[in-house]
Structures are given as structure tokens and as C-alpha cells.
């Protein structure tokens, strides 16, 4: 069993572009739920629109990437408004259900054959990020040690993505510490009370939904850039659940929570997969079991994640770094 390989893989995933993408998605969710109390289970819809909006402008319409990105983020704004206006007046559980349904239905629409001319349907769109990688000033080659290493382009994506993570964290922090943020947090606690104090709560919730959604859209843009393409299978509802898992792991309503959580999430996920791969290659296990494990690490690690979420809620419902005190206040 080679723990260097396992640890190297885990660390690579924990700091890699995927972790940064999930950190962005989780920062958006944190604004939605951690601060504004909006149970958004459709974050992947925002990611998908950010990614597809960008890719469509570049690959389908032959436009510039630098027009594509704002277009993708604009779609996120539109989605937030279309989703929020009919549902934000409603009870939070109605909102949760509507968001998950809307994101998945949007995905079905994007991958359907009538949309193929624009979205590439089941094929997705490719070769969209050339102008992004043209800006890469890093030398070619690999950076790092052993399995913990990145290609030049990966590192370039990472640099940009982690800078965005820092900027978005700072933006959310500044917003939350402003009087605007105070109203938003108050709405999370009790919307009727805030209404009775003369605040237009629906407008605040809508604003929070838009901002968090655009941050989620940014996650999608990075995803499209790092793969230089988009495909609908990357935006299944599961992705939202993983972003939630990362957020819960790191702790709700904290500034570093979503970031730490995303790093931890990918570290653990890749660590477990890598561990199972190594395990099945060792030859200590009975053949039938080793065969069963071989190639099953993806499904097993997700199943374990499911167990982990249940256990976390049962044992530390406030998340690993969350404050227990906050959990039982009021309500």
C-alpha cells in the first residue's frame, strides 16, 4: 500500500481546480442558505448556465470568450429572477423543491435534441477556452511532486480559480457586514418579523439569490474553462448535493467554511477512491472482494459520503467547524 500515492492524489484533488469550482459553488450556497436562509437545491443549474452560456457564445456563435463569460453570468441572473419571482414568496420548502426540479429540467432541455443546434445536445460543446489558455504565462511541464502535481494549464486554471474564490469570499463578507447583509440575515431568522419592520423581504431574497447564483455561475465558467468544453452529464443534481456536502462540512454562515469544506470534500473523496484502488491492487484481499472493489471506487466513495452526511447530521449537526450554540438558538 503506497500512502504517498494516496496522499498525493488526495492533496492534488483537494487543491485542484475541482476544489476551487466547488468552493465557488459553495460560497454561493452559503450566501443563499447560510446567510439568507434560502434552501437552494438547484445550484447546479446556475453552474450549468454559467458554463453553457460561455460555451455557446464561443463554440456556437463564434464569439469571444470575454463576451461569453458575461453572457453566461447574465443567464444566471435571468434564471435567478425566473426562479425567484414565482417562488420566493412561498414557504422555504416549496422553494427547495422547485429549485431542484428547475435545475434538472433545465439540464434535460439543454441536452435534448431540439436544443442540439445551440447546446450540442448530448455531445456538449468543445474547444472554447483557447483565448483563456493563451494568457497562460507559466512554462510548460508539470509542477509538483509525484502524484501531487499539475500541468501548466491546470495550474493556470487553479491560479485564476483560487483568486476568484478569494474575491468572492471577500465580496460576500463585505456584503454580509453591511446593513444590507444585516437585513438578509434577519430574513433568515424570521421573514415575517422583518416584513413587519418595513423591509421588502422578497426583494432582498431575490438579490441574494441572484448574487449567490452568479457566484455559482462563475464556478460553472471555471469548469467550462478547465475542460475547455461543456457536457450536460457534468451538471446532474448530484453536483448540487456535493456542493452542499462541502458547505456543511466546512460550516454554514462562515467566511472560510465553504472554502475549507470544498478542499476537505475533494481531499476525502479522492483519498477514499485512491485508497480503494490501492487496496484492490494489493492482493491481500480475497479475489472476489478485490474484483468487486476494482473499478467500484467511484460508487463506493459516494456511498460512503452518504453515510458520512447522515453520521455528521446525527453527531455534529452544526458541521465540523460550525458552532453548536447557533444550532439551537430560537426556532
Amino acid at each position: 500500500m503506497d500512502f504517498d500515492i494516496i496522499f498525493g492524489n488526495a492533496a492534488r484533488a483537494g487543491l485542484g481546480p475541482q476544489a476551487a469550482i466547488f468552493a465557488l459553488a459553495a460560497i454561493g450556497l452559503n450566501l443563499h442558505f447560510g446567510y439568507a436562509g434560502l434552501l437552494n437545491f438547484g445550484q447546479v443549474g446556475f453552474m450549468m448556465l454559467g458554463a453553457y452560456g460561455t460555451a455557446i457564445v464561443v463554440a456556437t456563435w463564434g464569439g469571444s470568450l470575454w463576451l461569453g463569460i458575461p453572457f453566461g453570468l447574465g443567464l444566471c441572473v435571468a434564471f435567478a429572477l425566473a426562479l425567484g419571482i414565482p417562488t420566493l414568496r412561498l414557504r422555504s420548502d416549496y422553494f427547495a423543491i422547485t429549485t431542484i426540479a428547475a435545475a434538472e429540467i433545465l439540464r434535460l432541455l439543454i441536452r435534448s435534441s431540439p436544443a442540439t443546434d445551440i447546446t450540442g445536445g448530448p455531445f456538449g460543446l468543445q474547444a472554447i477556452a483557447n483565448s483563456f489558455f493563451d494568457l497562460n504565462f507559466l512554462p510548460d511541464g508539470r509542477f509538483g511532486w509525484g502524484t501531487f502535481s499539475y500541468s501548466s494549464n491546470q495550474l493556470w486554471v487553479m491560479i485564476v480559480a483560487w483568486i476568484l474564490v478569494v474575491l468572492c469570499s471577500a465580496l460576500v463578507l463585505a456584503l454580509i457586514r453591511s446593513p444590507w447583509g444585516r437585513v438578509v440575515r434577519a430574513i433568515r431568522e424570521d421573514e415575517d418579523a422583518v416584513l413587519s419592520l418595513g423591509k421588502n423581504t422578497v426583494a432582498y431574497k431575490l438579490q441574494a439569490l441572484v448574487i449567490g447564483g452568479v457566484i455559482g455561475g462563475l464556478a460553472g465558467v471555471i469548469d467550462a474553462l478547465q475542460q475547455s468544453g461543456v457536457g450536460s452529464e457534468n451538471f446532474e443534481p448530484q453536483v448540487t448535493f456535493f456542493a452542499w456536502a462541502a458547505l456543511i462540512l466546512g460550516g454554514l454562515a462562515t467566511t472560510v467554511g465553504p472554502v475549507v469544506g470544498a478542499v476537505l470534500f475533494w481531499f476525502l473523496r479522492e483519498g477514499v477512491e485512491s485508497f480503494i484502488r490501492e487496496l484492490s491492487e494489493q492482493g491481500w484481499l480475497p479475489n472476489a472482494l478485490a474484483d468487486f472493489l476494482d473499478g467500484a471506487e467511484g460508487a463506493i466513495s459516494i456511498a460512503l459520503m452518504g453515510i458520512g452526511l447522515v453520521a455528521l447530521m446525527a453527531l455534529r449537526p452544526q458541521g465540523i467547524f460550525g458552532r453548536r450554540r447557533n444550532l439551537h438558538l430560537g426556532t
Partner: protein, 289 residues
């Protein structure tokens, strides 16, 4: 006065005195006409006419299920009546959302206290400020635009907290307050919004006698400062003690209204609400959960 004559000029003072519920007031701040709200078959609120006199303390009493909370919900825009209209300071409020009504000066509290648990006590107060323009998203990041106002808001909030004996808790999370302290905070917060009319739904429910006393003191003080107060109360001693006017509701209707002394003497009220010992024993108090 002016409100009445413009709306129902045909009514004379004499005609109205012949029909006690819905009596006209000299200077009503709030006037309600033909308010009806049904839930399924139940007429939760069915009020022909109700006026609240400016600058007074009005108590609304009535058994559980009488429709007091529903009336509050309707007046403050939290629920829509099936029909009816009402005016605050002559301005029609029908169809306005709750936050608009609050901004016009009618601020309510809730029967079940709604403290903003994970905000500090001071933040609870600051949220209610009507003057902080940094609450607009486009200004939120421009700190210098709202910083000076923030200082003023905090100062005012501190002042109110001191008055309500909560200043030592200012930086605690509101969720850590006792039930009675939360009631105080909710009231202080309502005042922070600078209301002209405060609607308190059972402000003393579940509050210990000492705190109740200070709460009532605050209500009086406020009133002395010119704020009109409507409150729902079950304790008749409290009602007799501080109210200028009492409205008795039962089954959605206004049974009668008048000065406290007059109302407690009213046979109907005793039957319907205060309850004779015999009625209570028979379980006919009209409880309607």
C-alpha cells in the same frame, strides 16, 4: 374626525351612539369598514366598522379564536381580507404589502415572539431603523455612504435598549434572551421603526409579573410620547389598568366597545368572555382552538 365625515357623511354622532359597536371617534387614526375574512366556513373576522382613536391605548379582548390575531394580520397586510377597506391617517391601505404598511407607520408585534435569534440584540434593533440607506444593495459595498448613519442608528438603538433594560445584553445573540426579555426586545424593535401606531399581539403573554409591570410602564410612556397603541390582552387587570378604550371581540365580531369601566359592567361581555363561574364550569367559555 375629518376621516369620518369624508367617508360616511350620512352618519351622525347620534345615529352611531345608538349602535355601540363601531363607535365613531373624535380623531381616528385607523378606520375599518366592512372587514370580512373567512377560513373555510369560519368567519374569523367580520367587522362592520371600527375606529381607533389617535393617541390612546386601546385594548382588544376576546376569547381564543375570537379573531384578534386575524384582525391584526388583515390590518397590517399580512393577510388579505375577503372584502373590506381600512385607512391609516386617511390613506387607504387595501392591497398594500406588509412592509409598505409598516413604513406608513403601523408597526405590529406577534403573538409568538419573533426575535431574530442569531443576530445580536443590537442588530435586532438596528434592522428596524428606517433611515439606513446602506440597506440598499447598490450602496452596501460603499461603506463611507452608510457609516455615519450607522453610528446614529446604533446610538438610537442603544438608547432604546437602555430604556427597556436590555443594554447589558446588546452584544449577546437575541436567542439567548429569556422569553420576557424577547417580548421587551420585540417591542423596543417596533419602536425603533418610528411608528405612529403600534399593534401589540399579546405583549404580556408568558411574561413574569415583574417584567409585565415594566412592559406596561413602557407602553404608558410611549403613549405619553404620542404613539397610538392597540394591544391584545387577556389579563383584565392589565386592561383595566392601562387602557383608555376596550374593544371586545367574539367569534369574529365586535361585541361591544367602550371605556374599560363601562365594558366590564356589560352583561354580554361577562357572558361571552369574562365568564361567570357557572359558564366556566360548564365549559362554555367559547374556547375555539
Amino acid at each position: 374626525m375629518s376621516g369620518v365625515t369624508t367617508i360616511r357623511p350620512e352618519l351622525t354622532q347620534a345615529a352611531l351612539e345608538a349602535a355601540p359597536p363601531g363607535r365613531l371617534k373624535d380623531d381616528p387614526i385607523l378606520i375599518t369598514f366592512g372587514m370580512l375574512k373567512t377560513f373555510g366556513g369560519i368567519r374569523a373576522v367580520d367587522i362592520d366598522h371600527l375606529e381607533i382613536e389617535r393617541g390612546t391605548i386601546t385594548a382588544i379582548i376576546g376569547p381564543n379564536g375570537a379573531g384578534k390575531t386575524t384582525l391584526f394580520n388583515l390590518l397590517t397586510g399580512f393577510d388579505r381580507p375577503d372584502r373590506g377597506s381600512w385607512r391609516l391617517d386617511g390613506r387607504l391601505l387595501g392591497g398594500l404589502p406588509p412592509h409598505r404598511i409598516a413604513r406608513l407607520g403601523m408597526v405590529r408585534t406577534f403573538q409568538l415572539t419573533k426575535s431574530l435569534s442569531r443576530l445580536t440584540v443590537l442588530e435586532n434593533m438596528a434592522v428596524a431603523a428606517q433611515t439606513q440607506r446602506g440597506e440598499r444593495l447598490e450602496r452596501a459595498l460603499l461603506r463611507w455612504l452608510w457609516q455615519p448613519e450607522e453610528a446614529r442608528v446604533r446610538e438610537r438603538a442603544q438608547g432604546l435598549l437602555e430604556r427597556f433594560g436590555l443594554a447589558h445584553m446588546a452584544d449577546e445573540q437575541a436567542g439567548t434572551l429569556s422569553g420576557g426579555q424577547r417580548k421587551l426586545l420585540e417591542m423596543a424593535r417596533a419602536l425603533m421603526a418610528d411608528p405612529t401606531l403600534v399593534m401589540l399581539d399579546e405583549p404580556t403573554a408568558g411574561v413574569n409579573p415583574a417584567l409585565t409591570e415594566s412592559l406596561l410602564e413602557h407602553i404608558r410612556e410611549l403613549n405619553a410620547e404620542g404613539v397610538t397603541i392597540v394591544f391584545v390582552e387577556h389579563n383584565m387587570d392589565v386592561v383595566m389598568d392601562i387602557s383608555d378604550w376596550v374593544v371586545v371581540m367574539a367569534a369574529g365580531r365586535i361585541l361591544t366597545e367602550g371605556p374599560p369601566q363601562e365594558v366590564v359592567a356589560n352583561e354580554e361581555v361577562i357572558d361571552a368572555y369574562l365568564g361567570r363561574p357557572r359558564d366556566v364550569a360548564d365549559g362554555e367559555e367559547g374556547e375555539d382552538a
